[in-house]
């Protein structure tokens, strides 16, 4: 299976198609990159846009210049009704948590700044998120949905999606997916050829 996405650089394509990566790994990574081109099925356009900006702020990603729209993967999961095997007993099921939580985010933004979340400047959005995280956010939603828990769950899911995305992984210099030959030098200050390649070509330089 070969990648042929127009929004991935040739260098990344060549790396993903290289013999350093096994076939099952390649297949998984390519499918994920192509999935990032999808559209929302579960959330309304308004909610989806709100969730997208929320996830951007959590990962310090510029909405105008995203590496990946994280909200798409949350939307996909909720549309498929799959879960990761558990939730906190004091939280509602995931689809309800997200619906309520997004409402609560707008409520907090309105009470703090008189606008909906997506209408705010970045700094104000960050302040609203901080309040939700530390449990001081106001709004009716937060009376029944624990805001600290919601924030933790949203952050954890967002983080896992973001750092599962191949371009993000390469950007931090992670080369672990390129293990077709295994690793031979595993001690301190030992980098193998593939790891040096990833560091030199992709670390901090993927946009």
């Amino acid at each position: 299976m070969e990648i042929n996405s127009s929004n991935i650089t040739q260098k990344v394509q060549d790396f993903l198609n290289s013999p350093a990566i096994t076939e099952p790994t390649r297949k998984a990574l390519i499918e994920r990159i192509e999935k990032a081109n999808g559209t929302n099925r579960f959330f309304t356009d308004y909610s989806f846009n709100l969730l997208s900006i929320l996830c951007d702020r959590l990962m310090d990603q510029d909405p105008e210049d995203r590496i990946v729209n994280i909200a798409l993967f949350i939307d996909d999961r909720l549309a498929e009704n799959t879960c990761d095997g558990w939730r906190y007993s004091d939280m509602p099921p995931d689809n309800e948590m997200y619906r309520k939580g997004l409402k609560g985010v707008d409520e907090a933004a309105s009470i703090m700044f008189d606008k909906n979340f997506t209408e705010l400047e970045k700094e104000a959005q960050i302040k609203a998120l901080e309040a939700i995280q530390d449990g001081t956010a106001k709004g009716d939603t937060w009376k029944t949905l624990p805001s600290k828990r919601f924030f933790e769950e949203l952050l954890a899911e967002t983080t896992e999606i973001f750092f599962s995305f191949p371009l993000v992984q390469l950007k931090i210099g992670y080369a672990g997916m390129a293990d077709a030959a295994g690793w031979k030098k595993i001690g301190l200050n030992e980098s193998e050829n593939i790891e040096t390649f990833v560091s030199n070509n992709f670390k901090n330089s993927i946009s």
Partner: protein, 512 residues
């Protein structure tokens, strides 16, 4: 693979193909019995199916939802629960330290928790057998515990960066360390009726599915052996009912396959579905619980981790996650808690690391991005210790149903007082070791590992669910064998002991 008719009364149905079930399936089949195993998940082909990608490998995670409560709710899913032929051994790190003789007697020694009705001597022959069968790589002599009759068949695996850092820190503080014993091959290995398995290639992906077969999960060890001897492994079969006759004996197991109910008639049932699904099945069927202990005594080993960033390049995903161990704290002196713990070095895959980091520190935005840019220079140290049973910690059926129409289990967990004090001691020590080793930006992950104790073994049917041979006190042809039957958590990782107990239960059964 041999197939049996549903209408044939087979000698045994085994529910679950993990550390508890697989040894039993193979032992019974080898003795000539007709055995059908029911596995809720698939039978994977690791080389073809397993990607070096955590998100893709979530297909090995038990993802029927559990509800987690109490003051220290235990995360389920990939933290402790697998699905597929191999069960949770698909995801285990394959640490296989032996328990110590005193692990079985904490009530005698400390007046807390419960003693086991069996001891180290009862299980020793099985540790000897398992370490050779699985191909455990470990140091000879092993620095802790009683002397052994059988040495490890393979030398230890290489130390990765995290292990080297733990060694450095411990040496400064006069803590003895050693390469660990792991059920992972350090050279190619042959077992009769199983075939050749490959050497570990240092992928470091043990916790998300070993693609090389070097890790001794049950799907590449006991299950091929079982199939060779005529056992049938039925996959994607979810057991829902144990059918019992007027005399109180099980006559068959009902299970769902592709949403349709089937039934297998059988003479005996071995319930080996793990410490969440085993009690859940019994509670749903209202069976085997005259003691009232089904679902009670839920334990999860204290498993606190300390992480840090170092000046050295580490690439923490390489090498087996835990190559170095210290058991100096197995029974520490002059402390304010019962029992003890061991220390292990830990490498980590990126998504697991970042997920734990955000849940523990709450970091996000720019701060998170900066921390994650340091991923290639992070290493962790981990403890694994005793958890005592507590009235507060148990499993019950909730009012919510899952996609199969079965009630979701709810599990309450709060770290008990002994565990708190033990954890504090370990955390202080690990922080010190890490500081001496050169760690910056240290953070702690409070976590509890494994699911234990919910159908405990005992000599008295009033406060145990099964006897010392795994037999139910209530139902004469029901046996339970998985982490649920442990009366105490042990200080060591459970899998080797689960498999040893399983072989013993099978042998005792066969002798009858």
């Amino acid at each position: 693979m041999r197939k049996y008719l549903n209408t044939e009364v087979v000698d045994a149905v085994v529910i679950g193909t993990g550390a508890g079930g697989a040894p039993i399936i193979s032992r019974l089949a080898k003795a000539g019995l007709k055995v059908v195993a029911l596995e809720a998940g698939k039978y994977w082909h690791p080389q073809k199916d397993f990607a070096t990608d955590e998100r893709e490998q979530s297909k090995l995670v038990w993802n029927y939802e559990r509800l987690s409560g109490g003051k220290d709710p235990v995360p389920f899913g990939r933290n402790n629960s697998g699905i597929g032929v191999g069960g949770s051994t698909l995801l285990y790190t394959a640490y296989t330290p032996r328990p110590h003789p005193d692990d079985f007697k904490i009530n005698t020694e400390f007046g807390v928790g419960k003693d086991w009705p069996i001891g180290y001597d009862d299980l020793e022959p099985y540790f000897d057998e398992l370490e050779v069968f699985l191909g455990v790589s470990g140091p000879t002599p092993y620095p802790w515990g009683p002397p052994r009759k059988v040495n490890y068949p393979l030398p230890p695996l290489p130390l990765n960066g995290a292990a080297q850092l733990m060694k450095r820190g411990c040496e400064e503080l006069d803590i003895k360390t050693s390469p660990a014993a792991n059920a992972i091959l350090s050279s190619p290995y042959f077992q009769e009726h199983v075939g050749w398995r490959n050497t570990c290639t240092n992928r470091g992906f043990c916790q998300a599915g070993c693609s090389t077969g070097a890790k001794a999960s049950t799907d590449v060890t006991f299950i091929p052996l079982a199939i060779h001897f005529g056992a049938e492994i039925r996959t994607e079969c979810f057991a829902t009912q144990l059918q019992v006759d007027k005399k109180g004996k099980i006559t068959g197991v009902v299970y769902l396959i592709n949403g349709v109910e089937e039934r297998q008639f059988c003479k005996n049932v071995f319930l080996c579905a793990g410490a969440i699904e085993t009690p859940r099945l019994l509670l749903i069927n209202n069976l085997g619980n005259s003691s009232g202990q089904v679902g009670k005594n839920f334990m999860a080993n204290t498993g606190i981790q300390v992480w840090g960033e170092f000046d050295e390049i580490i690439h923490p995903y390489k090498g087996i996650p835990a190559s170095l161990i210290s058991e100096d704290m197995h029974r520490p002196k002059n402390v304010n808690f019962a029992s003890g713990y061991l220390l292990q070095s830990i490498g980590v895959m990126p998504v697991t690391y970042i997920s734990q980091l955000v849940r523990s520190t709450g970091a996000w935005g720019k701060e998170l991005r900066n921390r994650m840019n340091a991923y290639n220079q992070v290493a962790g140290i981990n403890m694994h210790g005793e958890c005592l049973p507590s009235q507060e910690n148990f499993l019950e059926l909730s009012d919510e149903s899952d996609q199969l129409g079965l009630p979701k289990p709810r599990i309450y967990f709060t770290v008990e007082n002994n565990g708190k004090r033990l954890g504090e001691h370990a955390e202080r020590l690990m922080k010190e070791i890490w500081e001496v080793a050169g760690a910056k930006n240290r953070f702690t992950v409070h976590r509890n590992a494994h699911t234990i104790g919910t159908c405990r073994m005992g000599s008295d049917g009033d406060n145990a669910v099964v006897n010392a041979e795994g037999k139910s006190f209530d139902i004469p042809n029901l046996y339970i064998c998985d982490n649920s039957i442990f009366p105490s958590s042990l200080t060591v990782n459970p899998s080797l002991t689960i498999m040893a107990v399983a072989l013993r239960i099978a042998d005792k059964f066969l002798r009858k």
